[in-house]
Amino acid sequence: MAPPDGLTVVAPSPQPLLRVEDLSVAYGRQTVVAGVGFALPRAGSLALIGESGSGKSTIARAVLRLLPRTGRATGRVAIDGREVLGLPERRFRPLRGRAIGFVPQDPGNALNPVRSIGVQAEEAAALLDEPDRVRRTALILETFAAVGLDDPRRVYDAYPHQLSGGMLQRVLIGLAILPRPALLVADEPTSALDVTVQKRILDLLSRLREERGIGLLLITHDLAIAAERADTLVVLKDGTVQEAGRTGTVFASPASAYARKLHADVPSLNPDRYATLREAGFRRRAAGAGPKIAVSAVTKTYRADGRVATQVTKAVDGVSFSVPAGTTHALVGESGSGKTTTIRLLLGLETPDAGSIRVAGQEVTGRSHEALRSVRRQLQLVYQNPFTSLDPTWSVEALVREPLDRFAVGTRLERAERVRAVLADVGLGPHLLARRPDALSGGQRQRVAIARALALKPDVIVLDEPTSALDVSVQADIVEVLLSLQAELGLTYVFVSHDLALVRQLAHTVSVMHRGCVVEEGAVADVFDHPRHAYTAALLDAVPRGIAGRARGPDRRLRTEAA
């Protein structure tokens, strides 16, 4: 589908802040972006949406002229009517920072780890026409305060590793807006952050746009975020524009099949998508299925021995929950809420200081290493990031067969048979057996990880944010695989996530964790529809909800527009 249609709608003035026309980017012979065009008006907002490989980040990098050396961009990119794609680097450099600011994807890697924040902030401040050093530093501290950093001086003196992800992203936004650019390019600015932090960062970007008239080019894979935060949407797939236009139009009545699929894959917009697959679990729970997992009053404390005082961190504090066989229990909370420690205790990777954990009636705590082995067979883990959890030097077959070899299950032939069977269960064909993880997509890798967990026919699978490293559309595929397996095999899942919309889609029961404690628990529908604890309400409020979310944004202009 051609873009011009959307273009005429979004270009109110003859000279938009950013105009991209017929932009193509190629690496060698491979074209990754082809003939893309859009326009962003002054102080407007536009979102580029698509999954990994759709070319959305490449477009952002082409506009910022930060493509790797092998990348070639052709076409036209005009900022304030001035063509910049053809400019020599030396003449483009004055525009960097001053005309275009950049907010990167992963705040944890976007600042030099061995330089203090202050040193890096001074670089941004040097772009201001302010000869006085003291004055420049004062401006930095002012900006830090404006982006919601409580103690600007401490931040200025800190090194990146001393700050949290949310704080770092605020620092980066601060550095980007400090030289007062007219355009801010934000490349997935919140995908590495927790939901509540995500909401605050997005609110901050919306507010800056309104207060300072900064145009925002937002790159995201999440249609809900894009629709909530941008006036115009450009939907990309395989480097071409599928659909473009005003947010209300694209969101409410998507014309292209791809945009419709994107819409269907966003968990918050489709809470009942897997209702039929979840039905069996609800029936088992209603029938009073016995608890497969019973965690009661578990506590784990970490000590950091300092010379002066011993710091005690209660990572998990009196946590209890039980999971009926054949259902999914979700643990939700932000980073540091103790959910990861809880599952480490459940898996027997750590020993609790107090409390008991029973899996299928057997006590997990206080067991010897040998005795744990038999429990482990019943209890498998699917790890968060399939890009790091699979040994890159192993073939798919070896990866899936390893647990079978470890427990010496059956004959060689039977094990090979089993590998094929579980791969088929997760929807992977035998042609992938000899592949290595590098030759697989993120979704395929996570399927391999699930197959590996299934190989020993466990009763319980612990899913540690199994889709947080994946795109929304791939996430939907993985969730479908997991729920089908549960319906078929009667598996019990413990699902750890900070994404409440996803939990709502697939879990039966939920425990909300905050600072090591369970603050609220119950059936998913009860907890989510009638949250009793303020923290649960805050988490729910942070879930991006697409166009419906615009009414609650801090931006009054948008509110009237959405009404």
Binding site: R96, F102, N112, G148, G166, S335
Partner: protein, 336 residues
Amino acid sequence: MRHPYLVYAGRRLAQAVVVILLTYVFTFVVVSILPGDPVTNVLRDPQNGFSEEQIQAIVAAQGLDQPLLVQLWTALTHFLSGDFGLSMRSSRPVATLIAEVLPSTLALASAGLAVALGLAFAIAYGTQFLPGRLGSGLRALPSLFLSVPNFVIGLVLIHAFGFQLGLFRVIEPESAWATAFAAIALGIPISAQIAEVLIANLDHEARQDYAAVARSRGLSPARLFARHLLKPSSLPVVTVIALTVGELLGGSLVTEAVFGRNGVGSLVQRSAAAQDLPVLQAVVALAALIFVLVNLAADLVYPLLDPRITLAGPAARRPGKADEAPHDAPLRTVTG
């Protein structure tokens, strides 16, 4: 409260002292269990013409008839007070012998290291900023440097600059010019190792997100290199330097021979030929001392280069990111 860096430095220093003492004990033990008794070999050599009484007197005077543990204790206490005994070949104090030749070797080794560092950083800078073929050609240089032994480089330099161009007098090997060329011969192969690590790290750092973000703030390539890439890339270089000290010392012995310099190398050569144990033992202890000191210096430099290195040791590391989220302050409402 004591500064954590001083606590760290103190602990490292104590460890270094222990390592040096252990090295001394180790060489002492190895020498005494080696077959053949060089002492008796030298003393009983008919050419020296010692009578049996004289031999006994010397053995008693040197304490060689004492039990091994007592000998070790005596040697260790003398070693600690800077007394390395007498050379068996020349009967002069070992300390004096070493003091005579050490400055020459130290001058050569430090000049060699300076050459190596200068060359390595120049090559690395070139690979990042010289365009096209020149830059990629520079990348081949370290492997070329590594494959040529330093004595070959030395001979070529002597021939070209000494004999042909007459830039230095070959018969005055301790002159400044001769030292400079010896340092070049010594530094080139070592520069290759440093340059390879440095180039690989610069490439790695240049690909990091923070480099792109810094460029988006309008930093020029030169400033990006100086302010951002150099420091993190230098960390592994410190490790490499610490490891090449051995090579630097060994290389200076070879280079000394090639250039005809009178340094520790020639002393070792003469003493080894004469089985002059006190001298050899002192040289081994000295080498260990230098090695330990350089590694100590490297350990002390790391925390200054990388703020992420925790000084207090593994026990104080925080479990996971347990306390990460609470730091994030709620959004402040800005009015006006």
